[in-house]
């Protein structure tokens, strides 16, 4: 069982506590969800529970945080290995090996088990989670959802007493979340204690026993599952939380697929388009597509269906395999468009925000106005990398606005965001729309699509070709 009493945690060089005087008890076999806005302290608590803080993530701990007899700050990180299994947010950086079987075997190898036992355990684990088809494969060839499944299975390999998950679904689509949900439910039924820090809450409705709400490092309220399910979406929004019930949003997003284009002159259009990286391996076929200035279009569809391939083709990074596009030339389209990548770190090149937005700008005279409009003026001299995720997104968008781009594509801009930060992104989309840009948002976020997109294009699985 877990006992946290009067725990406060301070990261180095900060005065404010990441956790302030938190007391919490979790019984064996319970499944507890930690929720709250970004920066509310829920990730810090998971780090105290799996021993990463303060031994890896440096800081000062007051009070006590004990998980299954191991006290944070006293027990070495190695003592946690057989007791606690951990799953993290980013599917790309969770695996230390390059193939799936080796990854599953990895914790057992480190514990010094003998080879036959390891093989037996890997086999039974693959069998338990029905993922024999994922064995002996390169992890780099798996989808985000499959990677998280492997990460979860690896966390279970040493048969831990506690599983700690830190935003495991932020990059996943609906189906992948369902599969992860089933794996967690299975472990819960075996009596394993589970702690999940999460923004997306809907999928947890039937496995969580208790919800703990954090704000500025404090544990503010706790509900049991039945009480929590009674909260209305409005109440949840007030707390900055994502809704428990997303069916209404999903329905509205679906309805928006029937909406018409807002203008009459398209900025870009395509007909009978076949996209893909190799001629013989087309990825997706789209009958017709058009987008005009001053509208926000959501691009939805399951993971790996071809959303990014399509977006890349539209932006001129990729030649279409067949079909007609307007503008025809890739170079023309590239000149007009900009993509805010999911990992925005790749697109920051300069050592100050001002220089960053002026780099390659065609309309430098607008610099101060755009910085002001996006709330970046006070950061103008900071290094872009030292900003928060949302601020980095805005820096990238500011640079697109200054280079006079007309089509702005955003790749999953709200993944891993709470309600409050999601509305901020939505506000940004509206600003872009008013600025006169055509905005295309690749997203899994039904709430965003339902609330803020003018129309939605849904890439159905039936248009999918065999490539990739």
């Amino acid at each position: 069982m877990i006992e946290v009493s009067k725990a406060s945690f301070y990261y180095p060089n900060t005065d404010e506590g990441a956790l302030n005087d938190v007391s919490l008890q979790i019984n064996s076999g319970e499944c507890v969800v930690l929720c709250g806005k970004s920066g509310c302290g829920k990730t810090t608590l998971t780090r105290l529970l799996n021993g990463l803080a303060p031994s890896f993530f440096d800081g000062k701990l007051d009070g006590m945080c004990q998980s299954f007899g191991l006290c944070a700050g006293e027990a070495a990180i190695e003592e946690y290995v057989p007791i606690v299994g951990s799953v993290f947010q980013n599917p790309k950086t969770q695996h230390f090996n390059i193939d799936t079987t080796a990854e599953l075997a990895f914790p057992c190898e480190n514990m010094g088990m003998n080879s036959t036992d390891i093989q037996e355990r890997v086999r039974s684990c693959a069998n338990e989670f029905a993922m024999e088809h994922l064995m002996d494969r390169s992890i780099f060839k798996l989808s985000g959802g499959e990677k998280q499944k492997i990460a979860f299975a690896t966390a279970c390999m040493l048969q831990p007493k506690l599983l700690v998950l830190d935003e495991p679904t932020s990059n996943l689509d609906y189906k992948a979340i369902q599969e992860l949900h089933d794996m967690i439910a299975k472990k819960k039924s075996e009596g394993i204690t589970i702690v999940i820090a999460e923004h997306r809450l809907a999928w947890l409705a039937d496995i969580a026993d208790r919800f703990c709400y954090f704000a500025s490092g404090e544990l503010q309220r706790q509900w049991n599952a039945t009480e929590f399910l009674k909260l209305s979406n409005e109440e949840m929004q007030k707390m900055g939380l994502r809704p428990m019930d997303i069916t209404s949003y999903r329905k509205r997003a679906k309805e928006k697929t029937k909406s018409e284009m807002l203008g009459s002159i398209p900025l870009m259009s395509a007909e009978h388009l076949l996209v893909g990286y190799e001629k013989k391996k087309p990825v997706y076929e789209i009958d017709r597509f058009a987008i005009c200035k001053g509208e926000i279009v959501g691009l939805m569809g399951s993971n790996g269906v071809g959303k990014s391939t399509f977006a890349k083709t539209l932006c001129g990074l990729q030649k279409p395999i067949a079909g007609t596009m307007e503008p025809v030339k890739e170079k023309e389209r590239l000149k007009k468009s900009f993509m805010v990548m999911q990992d925005v770190n790749y697109q920051l090149f300069s050592d100050s925000v001002r220089e960053e937005v002026l780099l390659g700008a065609n309309r430098p005279e607008l610099c101060e106005a755009v910085l002001e409009a996006l709330g970046l003026t006070e950061f103008a001299d900071r290094h872009p990398i030292s900003l928060s995720g949302g601020q980095k997104q805005r820096v990238a968008i500011a640079s697109a606005m200054l280079s006079g781009k007309e089509l702005i594509v955003l790749d999953e801009p709200t993944s891993g965001l709470d309600y409050y930060h999601m509305t901020q992104v939505a506000h940004l989309l509206n600003q872009l729309k008013e600025w006169g840009a055509a905005v295309l948002v690749i997203t899994h976020d039904e709430e965003l699509a339902a609330g803020w997109c003018d129309r939605v294009i849904y890439l159905e699985d039936k248009g999918k070709k065999n490539g990739i």
Partner: protein, 230 residues
Amino acid sequence: MKLRLDPRTKLFLLLLSNMTLFFHVNLITEVILVSILLSLFFFSGRYKSGIRMTLIYGFMVSAEFLIIPYTEGVFLNFIAMFSVGIRMMLPCVISGAYAFSTTTVGEMVCGLRKIKVPECIIVPSVTIIRFFPTIAEDYRQIKNAMAFRGIASGKLALLRNPAQSLEYILMPLLMNSNNVAQDLSVAAMTKGISMPGIHTSMTELRMTAADGCCMLAGVMPFALYFGGVL
């Protein structure tokens, strides 16, 4: 039944091919050794790379007989450097390619542990292999990002403004590598990479008769050469 050799055997063959350079064995000894190495590709089912390597080596050897006797002056220099230089490196390259393409990371780690390489060398080595694909992926992303910004695009940009282009490519790459290093450390630590005591391997390695035969076959040309037969 495809041939699977122990990584230690592959290491031994790698060392043997280095000997050809070290002792300046004559061409015939080298050709015999290389033929043995090349046959391993075929026994292991790596037909494509086997054929490719055979063609390259065959070309280099024949160049010596067909081209060099008929060239003079500066050209001689170039061609000699090229054909002799590359040909003499080829035994190492061939055995290296064989070792690299037929060994899984698991086997490599197990092999390194068996020959008592310390963990402080094994951990970075595994990380390197793990990180190569990430570098390729990151580079693609950065290239796309640069295209959107219209910076350093075009083939000549790198030559026109090398320092700047290098900065634009390397800085995001290094920033991300730094983040990945932290995430990987966290992931590996919670999975017990820093556990004290012996780390085992799921892969089992055992020296078989095939390993013995290959090592003997590899030593043979040298024995014949030093014995004065070749």
